[in-house]
Amino acid sequence: MMTPLVVVVLIMAVAMIWLLRQTVNVRPWIEEQPLDNASSGASFSLPPATVGLGVFLAVATSLFVLTICAYFMRMMAADWRTLVFPSVLWLNTGMLIVSDLAMQSARAAARRAQMDRVRVGLIAAGICSFAFLAGQIWAWLQLNASGYFATANGGGGATVGPANSFFYLFTALHGVHVLGGLWVWGRTTARVWRGADAARVRLSVELCTVYWHYLLVVWLVLLALLVPAVSELCRGRLSF
């Protein structure tokens, strides 16, 4: 249960150690040190949006890690049943991977100022992401149709378990993050469509790409935890 928390501890440790390092051997009470390059404004030579995305990814990681902790802890209860894994999830995963690759190609094109390719990459990434979301909803409907609603054991018989609830929770949380990404993607694509030059959209495309990589990694972790064999393995270890 504690293992995923290590990730949050690491995030905090990095932040705290970085901050502490800024303070060692600095004696601000010795006044009037000449201003040099080291004391000019920003802490990182990065645009604010990049730093903002970095901080947001830390927050999102905290959210997913805590949800995974809850998953592990709930797993230990006696009524746990392995998820009836909707096979469409494999297709969805493929969609997200393609979408991520398309985004990556858009980023490479933006660096080379090839706006046509940026357009193609962005559109492909968007379509695949929407397809991913549609696929996730399809998976929900599939489960629902088979009688595996989010409810735990209530009236659903022995095969319906809390793993289903977590499946809905994981996919919903991840889906909301994808939707947020698509909103920024929409704004970026609109700007590209209106003929903005490469220099102006490059940052947006880069940040979208980083975010898509993140979404993919999170999804792969969540997927792995939902796969029956892995979840059984985790449960075996936790019970031990």
């Binding site: 901050l19 201003l35 404004g41 901080v55 947001f56 905290s62 805590l66």
Partner: protein
């Protein structure tokens, strides 16, 4: 990085950092309603927080009426009482203190203190406030739905929070959970702004170690909040699903009045872990900004540099880090592995070390300082005093064998009110008296301020000191009435009456403070730009109150830390952070230290 050249006198030209594109609103709505100016957003946050805080205060008075004079007020039913307890706690911790310190003071002070024109993401900042307001309105709405607000205690523990029999187990709890989720989304938007602004938008010369401690406190608390609030978010979502869809994340198998409910296997302890993983850092999310602000108030009004600035920064960071490793001390009574309990008791006691260090440094800053007993200073000293008192009872409660018998008594109520209610409240009062002149251009009335201070300060002790004693007697908390328990002597009731009278006096006095805020806005003494002769950048703005963009034509360059008070040889007893060395030399000082 910008390359900077400077001449032999040490003078540095103003910052050449890239100017941000400010949104200049021209309509009333753009300027004062959907404003993107962090200062105005800070004021919006502050007034909303104070307004909902008054509701929280009124609820506490109602609770006290019931406890002091049971069976006198027929409109206070046991259900109502539990609703008052719950909503008072939630409102005060989340919607007043967190919002006021981070949203209110954070927005107003961060850009001004670090020498920035505004927050880095102004639109997101604006949305953050509106989501906060929405969250407050949703919470208030829960009072008016069928069944009323939730009465499950501010910790909202399942299973009782969503089971029939608990007040507001239907729509009440649903609205509360939705409100919390909306609050967290809004806060995340604001929090990203505060962190990135401090990291990336500081003016030239404002190194991290030249930041005033106020900014350090708010900055660290924001990082903590960003990492801790997701725990509350996910637990709120999960409980919402348990309540509405019938999932069993937290709900165990329950037989209610002979009927088997459709829950099974969920674990309430899981909720407790998630809740307190947020809940304990939350204590410090409220306390760290208070620590920072108190440091600045004490230094400025004692005309002395803060003692051990670097240690103060380290203490803030270490407290921030440690506070994530103590959460289960709120769960000793839930039962846990012995070693687990030992671990959390130890970390809890360790956190006293950096905290004590801060207290020593405040006292040493006061030591031989030129103490001005202004209203902000009175509040700051009262804070140190109260924080020590509240902290000491924390050392008792951090130990498992002492916590277990006391956990459900008024002793705990006394402890946490002293340490995380009265203490930060004293600081935010001090802060409002301190920065009101910058916000409005007028001083708050000092006589009213002193009356407000003394009644609030002494009154708080009249309320919470006796509660420690009642707790030792075993008087339980959260109870609507303790009628004939054999261990409660009749004198306990007399003490309860006394507490209620004190609470009513203190509560009423807060209206004097509100009156002062309004009266001084129109009739207060004009403040000038720097009435406290402070060093930090917000007092060096061209106009008071500062206009949109904060610093006029050029951003200030910073040459020193924020605590150059009473520097030997200096012309004045303070040297503003943006005063160039050459100008100071021209003012008669020869740089002797």
């Amino acid at each position: 990085m910008v390359s900077v050249t400077h001449d032999e006198s040490g003078y540095v030209p103003p910052a050449e950092v890239e100017e941000v594109e400010l949104h200049h609103a021209h309509t009333f709505i753009g300027k004062y309603v959907f404003s993107q100016d962090a200062k105005w957003i800070g004021i919006q946050y502050g007034t909303t927080a104070l307004a909902i805080g008054l509701v929280g205060l009124a609820l506490s008075e109602l609770m006290r009426l019931q406890l002091g004079f049971p069976s006198v007020f027929s409109f206070i039913t046991p259900s109502n009482y539990l609703q008052y307890v719950t909503m008072h706690g939630l409102i005060m911790v989340v919607y007043l203190l967190t919002a006021l310190f981070l949203g209110g003071f954070g927005n107003y002070l961060i850009p001004l203190m670090i020498g920035a024109r505004d927050m880095v993401f102004p639109i997101m900042n604006m949305v953050s406030y509106w989501l906060y307001l929405l969250a407050v309105l949703i919470l208030v709405a829960s009072f008016f739905v069928p069944g009323g607000a939730t009465g499950s205690g501010w910790t909202l523990y399942p299973p009782q929070a969503i089971l029939p029999g608990t007040p507001g187990a239907g729509l009440g709890i649903v609205l509360t959970l939705v409100s919390l989720a909306v609050f967290i989304v809004g806060f995340t938007m604001g929090g990203l702004n505060y962190v990135v602004t401090v990291l990336q938008a500081r003016t030239r010369g404002m190194t991290l170690m030249r930041l005033p401690l106020t900014v350090w406190g708010i900055f660290t608390a924001t990082i903590m909040a960003l990492l801790a609030f997701p725990a509350l978010f996910v637990s709120a979502v999960m409980m919402l699903l348990d309540q509405t869809l019938g999932t069993s994340f937290f709900m165990p198998e329950i037989v209610l009045r002979g009927q088997h409910l459709e829950f099974s296997g969920g674990t309430p302890i899981l909720f407790q872990h998630l809740f307190w993983y947020f809940g304990h850092p939350e204590v410090y999310i409220v306390a760290l900004p208070a620590f920072g602000i108190a440091s600045d108030l004490i230094s400025t009004h004692a005309r002395k540099n803060i003692f051990g600035y670097r240690m103060m920064v380290w203490a803030i960071l270490i407290i921030g880090g440690l506070s994530f490793g103590v959460w289960a001390h709120h769960m000793f009574v839930s039962g846990m592995n012995m070693y687990f309990g030992f671990f959390f008791a130890t970390t809890t006691l360790i956190i006293a070390i950096p905290t004590a260090l801060k207290v020593y440094n405040w006292v040493l800053t006061l030591w031989r300082g030129n103490i001005h007993f202004t209203v902000p200073m009175l509040f700051a000293i009262a804070f140190v005093f109260t924080f020590v008192n509240g902290g000491l009872s924390g050392l008792f409660l951090g130990n498992v064998p002492i916590d277990v018998p006391l956990a459900h008594t008024l002793f705990v109520v006394a402890h946490f009110h002293m340490v995380m209610a009265v203490s930060p409240v004293l600081v935010f009062f001090g802060a409002i008296y301190h920065w009101y002149p910058k916000i409005t251009g007028r001083m708050l009335d000092e006589t009213m301020g002193k009356i407000h201070f003394w009644i609030t300060f002494i009154g708080a002790y009249c309320i919470f000191y006796p509660m420690h004693y009642l707790g030792f007697l075993g008087v339980p908390r959260r109870y609507y009435a303790v009628d004939t328990a054999p261990f409660v002597p009749p004198s306990a009731q007399t003490l309860n009456e006394f507490i209620t009278v004190a609470a009513l006096i203190v509560g009423t006095t807060q209206l004097l403070f509100i009156y002062n805020l309004i009266w001084s806005y129109f009739k207060g003494k004009p403040a000038g730009s720097n009435p406290w002769q402070a060093t930090t950048l917000e007092w060096q703005t061209a106009e008071t109150p500062p206009q949109h963009g904060n610093f006029g034509q050029a951003l200030p360059a910073v040459y020193r830390w924020a605590y150059d008070y009473s520097v030997p040889g200096a012309a004045q007893d303070f040297i503003p952070q943006n005063q160039p060395p050459a100008a100071r030399a021209a003012g008669g000082a020869q740089g002797a230290r």
